[in-house]
C-alpha cells in the first residue's frame, strides 16, 4: 500500500486549473519532496491531502483512506505545517502546541516535556512568552513545524517549511524532519528551493502547471538529463560560429554565452567529449583559457524539466 496515492486528481478554482489529472504516489517511510515553481499546484495538492480542499475530480488516498469519503479518519493520521503559519493570535506558542497535542491524544504526562524539548530544538524557547501575533515570520514558521513534530503523525506534510527561516534554523528543521522519518513517519515536503530538496529528499516529484513532470531519486534525475556532465569552457577570445557548429557535431547540447567566449555543453561523457573539443578548437585556432567539468546540479534538473514542460505548452 502507498502512504499517499492520487489518481487523475484535478482541482479547478474558477477558471484556474491548479491540478490537472495528477497521478502521484508516496511510499511508506520515505521523504518525498515536491519541487515546483510558484503556482505549480503544490499547496493545492497538500490541501487536498489534508482534507481542507475537495478535489474537482479524481481521487486521493492517505494510507488507503479516501480523503473525501472519510476525511475525519484521514485527519487522525496526518499533520500539516502550513506554508503560511496559522495560529491563535492571542495564545503563546506553548499553549498553541498544548492545544494541538491534546487534539491528537499525545500522552498528557509527556506533553509538557515534549513541547519544551521541541521548542528548544527549534530555538523557539526564547519566544515562549510572546503571543502568536507578535512572533516574527520565521518564528511562526518554526512553530508551524513544531506542531507536526510533536504530533508525530503517520503522514507529515510540510509546505515550504523553511521559507522565512534563517540558515541555522533551516538546518535544524531539516534535521528534525529527517529524524521524524527515521522514527517511522512518511513525509511530504513541498518546496521551490532546490537546496532543501537536495538535503531532504529520498525521492523528488517535479510538479509543473498542475502535472507531474517526473518523479525519481536525485541521482537518477541527474542522470536523466542530457546524458550527465556539464562542461564549461572559457576561451580567451570570442569564438567563431563555425567552431560552434563543429562542436555541435560532436554530440551533446552546446550553447554559447552572449559575449561569445564562454561555452556551456551538456554531454553524456565529459572524458570522451573534452579531447574532441580541444582538438577542434586547436584546429580552429581558438585559445582555451579554462575548462570546468561539473555534474548537473538539481538546479539544472529543475530548470530542465520545468523549462521543457513550459516549451511543451501550446
Amino acid at each position: 500500500m502507498f502512504a499517499v496515492e492520487t489518481l487523475s486528481l484535478s482541482k479547478r478554482y474558477g477558471k484556474t486549473d491548479a491540478l490537472r489529472g495528477l497521478n502521484f504516489t508516496v511510499n511508506e517511510g520515505e521523504i518525498m519532496v515536491i519541487l515546483g515553481p510558484n503556482g505549480s499546484g503544490k499547496t493545492t495538492l497538500l490541501m487536498i491531502l489534508c482534507t481542507i480542499l475537495k478535489p474537482t475530480s479524481g481521487t486521493a488516498k492517505v494510507v488507503g483512506i479516501d480523503v473525501v469519503e472519510d476525511g475525519t479518519k484521514v485527519r487522525e493520521v496526518m499533520g500539516i505545517a502550513f506554508q503560511e503559519a496559522r495560529g491563535f493570535w492571542r495564545h503563546k506558542p506553548s499553549s498553541i502546541l498544548r492545544f494541538h497535542a491534546s487534539m491528537f491524544d499525545i500522552d498528557p504526562a509527556k506533553r509538557q516535556d515534549l513541547i519544551e524539548r521541541t521548542m528548544k530544538d527549534l530555538e523557539l524557547w526564547e519566544s515562549r512568552d510572546k503571543m502568536f501575533m507578535h512572533l516574527s515570520g520565521g518564528q511562526a514558521k518554526r512553530l508551524e513545524t513544531a506542531k507536526v513534530l510533536i504530533q508525530k503523525p503517520k503522514l507529515a506534510i510540510f509546505d515550504e517549511p523553511t521559507s522565512q527561516v534563517d540558515l541555522r534554523g533551516k538546518r535544524k528543521i531539516w534535521d528534525k524532519i529527517r529524524e521524524l522519518r527515521d522514527q517511522g513517519s512518511t513525509i511530504i515536503v513541498a518546496t521551490n528551493e532546490v537546496r532543501e530538496a537536495e538535503y531532504l529528499a529520498d525521492r523528488v516529484t517535479i510538479l509543473h502547471q498542475g502535472q507531474r513532470v517526473v518523479c525519481d531519486t536525485i541521482p537518477k534525475l541527474k542522470d536523466a538529463i542530457a546524458g550527465g556532465d556539464i562542461v564549461e569552457v572559457d576561451f580567451e577570445d570570442p569564438v567563431s560560429e563555425k567552431l560552434v557548429g563543429s562542436l555541435n557535431g560532436l554530440g551533446g547540447d552546446v550553447s554559447l554565452s552572449p559575449e561569445g567566449n564562454q561555452l556551456r555543453a551538456k554531454v553524456s561523457k565529459a572524458e570522451d567529449w573534452v579531447p574532441k573539443m580541444t582538438s577542434a578548437s586547436y584546429v580552429a585556432g581558438a585559445k582555451i583559457a579554462s575548462i570546468r567539468i561539473t555534474e548537473p546540479s538539481l538546479d539544472d534538473v529543475f530548470l530542465h524539466f520545468t523549462g521543457k514542460a513550459l516549451a511543451d505548452q501550446p
Binding site: Y13, T44, I52, L53, K54, T72, M78, R86, F88, M103
Partner: protein
C-alpha cells in the same frame, strides 16, 4: 479522544479567546457597570415608579442590563468567527480530527458559554448593587436564577448563532462590523430592556410592539425581573417563548457557519 471531548476543547479554546481580549473586556465591563449604576440611578430620579416599571426604574433596568451583557458576550462569537476566517485559523481547525458539524457546534456552544458566564457575573454584581441600594431580593429569586441558567444558555447560543450568521455572510469583509452594530442597536432598541412594553405600545406602531414583545431579549429580561429579582414563580409560557425564539437563531447561525466551511473546502477561501 472522542469527537465530543475534542468539541469541548475547541469550544473552551474559543471561549478563552473572549476573555483574552483585554480591551474588549474593559469596554464591556465599564459599559455594563455604568449602565447599571449611573444610568439606573440617575434615571430613577427622573422616572417615577409606576405599574409598568415596578417600584423603581433602577429595579426595572438592572435585570435588562444583565441581558444586554449576555447579548454582548454572545455576539462576540461573530467577531471570533470573523477573526478565524480572516486570520486563517479556520483552515487549521479544518485539519483537526473532528467532524465539520463538531466544529460548528463548538463555536455555538462557546458563544453560549460566553454569554452565560459574563451575564452570570453581571447578575451577581446586580444582586450586590440591589443590596447596596436597599432593594430587597427574595431568596427564591436566587433559586429561580439558577433554574434559568439553561434557558439563558439557549438564548445565548441563539444570539451567538445570529452573530455567526452575520460573520459568515460578511466572510472577511469589514462589513461585519456594520452588521454587528446594526444587530446590537436593533435588538436592544426594539425590546423591553430599557423601557416597558406599555411605553412601546403607546408610542410605536403595533407590529414594532409585537416584535419587541417576542424579542428573546425582552422575554429574558421579563423573566429575570419577575422571578430572579421579583421572586415570583417562573412562567412556563415565557420560558417556552424564549426557547422557541432562540433555538431557530442558533440553527440559522450553525447552518451559515457550516456553509462557509463548505465553501472553504470548495474554493480554498471563505
Amino acid at each position: 479522544m472522542s469527537q465530543l471531548s475534542r468539541l469541548v476543547r475547541i469550544a473552551r479554546t474559543d471561549f478563552s479567546y473572549f476573555f483574552r481580549t483585554k480591551w474588549l473586556m474593559a469596554v464591556l465591563i465599564s459599559l455594563s457597570l455604568s449602565d447599571m449604576l449611573v444610568v439606573g440611578l440617575v434615571y430613577t430620579r427622573l422616572i417615577p415608579a409606576s405599574n409598568a416599571i415596578g417600584s423603581s426604574y433602577f429595579q426595572f433596568l438592572v435585570p435588562g442590563i444583565v441581558v444586554v451583557g449576555l447579548f454582548s458576550a454572545a455576539t462576540d462569537t461573530g467577531r471570533r468567527i470573523w477573526l478565524a476566517l480572516r486570520e486563517g485559523v479556520v483552515q487549521y481547525y479544518l485539519t483537526l480530527p473532528i467532524r465539520t458539524r463538531g466544529l460548528v457546534g463548538a463555536y455555538i456552544i462557546s458563544g453560549g458559554l460566553g454569554g452565560i458566564v459574563y451575564s452570570g457575573a453581571l447578575l451577581i454584581i446586580a444582586y450586590l448593587s440591589f443590596m447596596l441600594f436597599g432593594a430587597p431580593i427574595p431568596v427564591q429569586g436566587v433559586l429561580y436564577a439558577l433554574t434559568l441558567i439553561p434557558f439563558l444558555f439557549v438564548l445565548s447560543t441563539g444570539i451567538a448563532g445570529l452573530a455567526a450568521f452575520f460573520a459568515s455572510v460578511s466572510r472577511r469583509g469589514e462589513i461585519y462590523w456594520v452588521y454587528a452594530q446594526a444587530l446590537q442597536v436593533s435588538m436592544v432598541t426594539v425590546s423591553t430592556v430599557f423601557y416597558p412594553a406599555q411605553t412601546i405600545a403607546q408610542y410605536l406602531p403595533a407590529p414594532v410592539a409585537t416584535i419587541a414583545e417576542y424579542n428573546p431579549l425582552s422575554l429574558a429580561a421579563g423573566v429575570l425581573r419577575n422571578s430572579a429579582f421579583g421572586g415570583n414563580a417562573l412562567e412556563t409560557g415565557a420560558l417556552a417563548n424564549l426557547l422557541a425564539t432562540s433555538l431557530p437563531l442558533a440553527v440559522i447561525g450553525a447552518l451559515a457557519y457550516w456553509i462557509i466551511l463548505r465553501t472553504i473546502r470548495l474554493k480554498g477561501k471563505p
